[in-house]
């Protein structure tokens, strides 16, 4: 029972950064923008939140700084792709490379220092319930934020006017413009939301997952988050399931290694990526599912006629 509890707790920890980053990217892509810079925004969030928390001693301040670092990085992407009309794919890739390099530079002085750990909440009585208590009521704040965010995104996208406009812009930016909606403005906002979520994911890595700064500590999670969005066919409910599924696969790799099963560790640590590839292949077989839900304008720049 205690072993199972430990496994579940680590699965939650592994899934949360994936869920956070993928939630942001889902909204960005729904508005018709493909931001491949998730990894870069996440690592910027991680290094900045670590630095802020280490310097001030406040984990909450670290979270806020991580969030803003993600937004700032995403605004660079937004300016380049939406205002200067650069290619989204090339810009996103460079954003990832920039983030990885810049975070290494910023984090140089922080390597190996003990970080500030984001404490789990403790509700008397509730958290003390055996097994269920620590799992449901003993997580840190960001776990609850990630779940609240995906619920909120689902509600906003499908039940509010703002969500309708985001979907419209992603489905046909020419029509949205003809109806008088500010396509570029909506996309700036959605890119910024994506950056904020990636920044939070980074903050989670540096404050909760492993409270220290390690270069490249995002370790490809940004790419998995991107794959997750396709996996979910842009539906928040499936995104939640997918994030926890991928988190489980990630953790299973570690546990199987720990149990000394005779599988090479390299194979196990590549498991999440293999699963990503398999899932993408399986999903792309169902073209109608993809076409109905895919934001039709994804990756296409929009330049209004003057």
């Amino acid at each position: 029972m205690e072993a199972l509890e430990a496994v579940i707790l680590t699965i939650i920890t592994a899934s949360t950064p994936l869920l956070l980053a993928a939630t942001g990217e889902l909204v960005t892509e729904r508005s018709g923008v493909l931001n491949l810079g998730v990894e870069g925004m996440m690592i910027m969030g991680a290094v900045c939140s670590f630095a802020a928390a280490y310097t001030t001693g406040s984990a909450l301040l670290g979270i806020l700084v991580g969030l803003y670092a993600g937004v700032a990085t995403s605004m660079l992407f937004a300016f380049l792709t939406q205002t200067l009309m650069t290619s989204q794919v090339a810009t996103g890739l460079s954003l990832t490379l920039l983030g990885l390099g810049l975070s290494g530079l910023i984090g140089e002085g922080f390597t190996g220092l003990p970080g500030v750990k984001l404490e789990s909440i403790h509700i008397p009585l509730l958290t003390d319930i055996p097994f269920i208590g620590p799992i449901l009521f003993g997580q840190d704040i960001l776990v609850y934020v990630s779940l609240a965010l995906i619920a909120a995104v689902s509600y906003v996208l499908f039940h509010t006017r703002i969500g309708l406009v985001i979907n419209a812009v992603g489905n046909n930016h020419h029509s949205a413009h003809a109806l008088g909606y500010g396509v570029i403005r909506v996309r700036y906002a959605c890119i910024g939301f994506g950056g904020a979520c990636s920044g939070l994911a980074g903050a989670y890595l540096a404050l909760a997952y492993t409270p220290q700064w390690i270069e490249n500590m995002s370790a490809g999670r940004g790419w998995i988050a991107l794959a997750l969005v396709v996996f979910s066919t842009w539906l928040p409910g499936r995104l939640l399931i997918g994030a926890y599924l991928f988190g489980t696969v990630w953790i299973m790799g570690l546990y199987v290694q720990g149990l000394g099963v005779g599988i090479p560790s390299q194979l196990l640590s590549s498991l999440p990526y293999l699963v990503t590839i398999v899932v993408l292949v399986v999903i792309s077989g169902n073209r109608s599912l993809i076409r109905v839900n895919t934001p039709a304008m994804i990756g296409q720049p929009f330049a209004p006629e003057r």
Partner: protein, 529 residues
């Protein structure tokens, strides 16, 4: 911006009489191009006013200025007699101007209600809106299911969404851009009834069309543009279709010479039981299509857009291969599984619908675009696997000269040509090969009347010289002008090909709506077998 400072005082009407909208001395420059050059337009409430002109005459530019999508370089728009600046489409809608676009501004992945809600700024309660959509659409005879996904609707139904969307805003002026281009004759009649009723209720209608019979039937007044200038303001009831066309073009349109009646020979293109499923949720599956096109005749496939025309073209050209080789025969040879190039080698040529991006690559020069369809079929443009640029340019120059492709450079990129000139090039490119079998899709889409007449004449001449010509088109006038036999495609099924003389537009309209006697044909075939 607030609504109130755009809405003129109701008291200041006197200056311009009873006009609801007046545009004075409108000039719009795009670089050096004078898209609108000193144009005046005025409409009274309850009037259906036609705006006529060739492609490139400046109709769309003028309308976009009125709808706030473009700003005039100079000139002034008056609304109910007071000068207004319509800075964006939302401002136009606030004034009471509604617009139905030629290329619909709809969202495929959203429902009818969601689409309409997006145009109504204050609308929060989608359930109540769905109810209003049902009431208004039924009231005006344009039934709509509010919960349906736009992707699942026919083109005619999509247009209804746009019209109903405008009606819900209780417009004072409704602008329609080529509204009947995508409709069956019956659907068009229904639209006219709606427009007449709207006009009767005092709404002004600005009606853009190049279908002159329609304009004569529906409109009370007409403004005619040519090359960005206002050339005439006439009463369409007092004009003939020919006199209206003369105003639009500046000269008389050449009448078509069809030569002697079709002397048909051997079947060159045969489709037998051609079926093709679709894996695209927005596509149409082809269902057991039979068709024979003989040497010397033009056969047309009529139909409303989105009923399987593109899929049919792809299946014949080899862009999509069929499971059975016998489903498509070119000059007697089964080739249902062959590639486009293999089919071209069988003396067939194909002109797809989209000229830019499908028939031609935008940023390649014309000579290289020519190589793309000629490389396997002679003309020496490819020798020993290498492109012979000199020969390619020679053939390109010959096509350009013979088919009157107007260009500024010797070998410009395809995107540098105007739509009509590029269309003449992509049609001429295939005709130059003198193919035995020619399949063309929408040969004159968006081409001005002069060039269209020329292309149609070329197709007829091609057939009279012994080729089999299959033309897929949505333009009924064009079909009746040149086709010897006509088949109608509806939801992926093709009717029998009837001699053109035996069909009326009304009968074609019924066939388009999908009421052809497939069952009867099947029974006949069973009896023959």
């Amino acid at each position: 911006m607030s609504t109130s400072d755009m809405r003129p005082d109701d008291g200041s009407e006197a200056a311009s009489g009873a006009y609801i909208l007046e545009a004075r001395n409108i000039v719009k420059l795009f670089g050096d191009l004078r898209a609108n050059d000193d144009i005046d337009l005025s409409l009274k409430p309850g009037e259906i006013h036609a705006l006529l002109g060739e492609n490139g005459a400046g109709k769309s530019t003028l309308v976009k200025i009125i709808y706030g999508a473009l700003q005039p370089t100079s000139g002034q728009v008056f609304w109910q007699g007071a000068p207004v600046t319509i800075s964006n489409p939302a401002a136009a809608r606030d004034l009471g101007i509604g617009m139905v676009f030629q290329h619909f501004s709809l969202f495929d992945a959203l429902t009818v209600t969601q689409n309409i809600a997006l145009a109504l700024k204050g609308e929060r309660d989608l359930k109540a809106l769905a109810g209003r959509i049902e009431t208004v659409s039924a009231d005006y005879g344009l039934p709509l299911r509010p919960g349906a996904l736009v992707a699942d609707l026919s083109v005619g139904e999509r247009q209804r969404i746009e019209v109903v969307r405008c009606l819900l805003q209780e417009p004072r002026l409704l602008i329609l851009d080529e509204p009947t281009a995508v409709l069956t004759p019956q659907e068009a009649d229904q639209l006219f009834v709606t427009l007449e009723r709207l006009a009767g209720e005092g709404c002004a209608v600005l009606y853009i069309s190049h279908r002159l019979e329609e304009v004569k039937r529906l409109c009370h007044d007409a403004t005619i543009l040519r090359l960005g200038r206002l050339v005439a303001r006439v009463d369409p009831q007092q004009e003939s279709a020919a006199s209206l066309a003369k105003h639009m073009i500046g000269t008389d349109v050449a009448a078509l010479r069809s030569g002697s009646g079709a002397a048909t020979g051997a079947p060159l293109l045969e489709l037998a039981g051609l079926s093709m499923p679709t894996d695209d949720p927005f596509g149409v599956a082809l269902k057991s299509i039979d068709l024979v096109v003989r040497s010397g005749e033009v056969v047309a496939v009529a139909g409303v857009a989105g009923n399987g025309q593109s899929e049919l073209f792809d299946a014949i050209s080899g862009e999509r291969t069929s499971k059975s080789a016998d489903a498509v025969k070119l000059a007697g040879a089964p080739c249902g599984r062959e590639s486009i190039t293999q089919r071209r080698r069988r003396d067939a040529a194909f002109v797809p619908e989209e000229r830019l991006g499908h028939a031609a690559i935008a940023d390649l020069p014309l000579s290289e675009n020519l190589v793309l369809t000629h490389h396997a079929v002679g003309n020496d443009v490819v020798r020993n696997g290498l492109i012979n640029r000199g020969a390619a340019r020679d053939v390109m120059a010959r096509v350009a000269e013979h088919y009157d492709v107007r260009k500024n450079l010797t070998d410009p990129e395809a995107s540098a040509l105007s739509g009509g000139n590029l269309q003449k090039f992509v049609v001429g490119r295939e005709l130059d090969r003198k193919p035995g079998i020619l399949v063309v899709h929408q040969p004159t889409w968006g081409v001005d009347a002069g060039a269209a007449a020329f292309i149609r004449q070329s197709l007829v001449d091609m057939a009279r010289s012994g080729s089999a010509v299959l033309m897929i088109s949505q333009d009924l006038d064009e079909i009746f002008e040149i086709a010897d036999r006509i088949a109608v495609i509806s939801r992926g099924e093709l009717s029998e090909a009837y001699p053109a003389a035996e069909l009326s537009p009304e009968r074609i309209g019924l066939l388009m709506a999908g009421t052809h006697e497939k069952a009867g044909r099947d029974a006949e075939r069973g009896a023959e077998a």
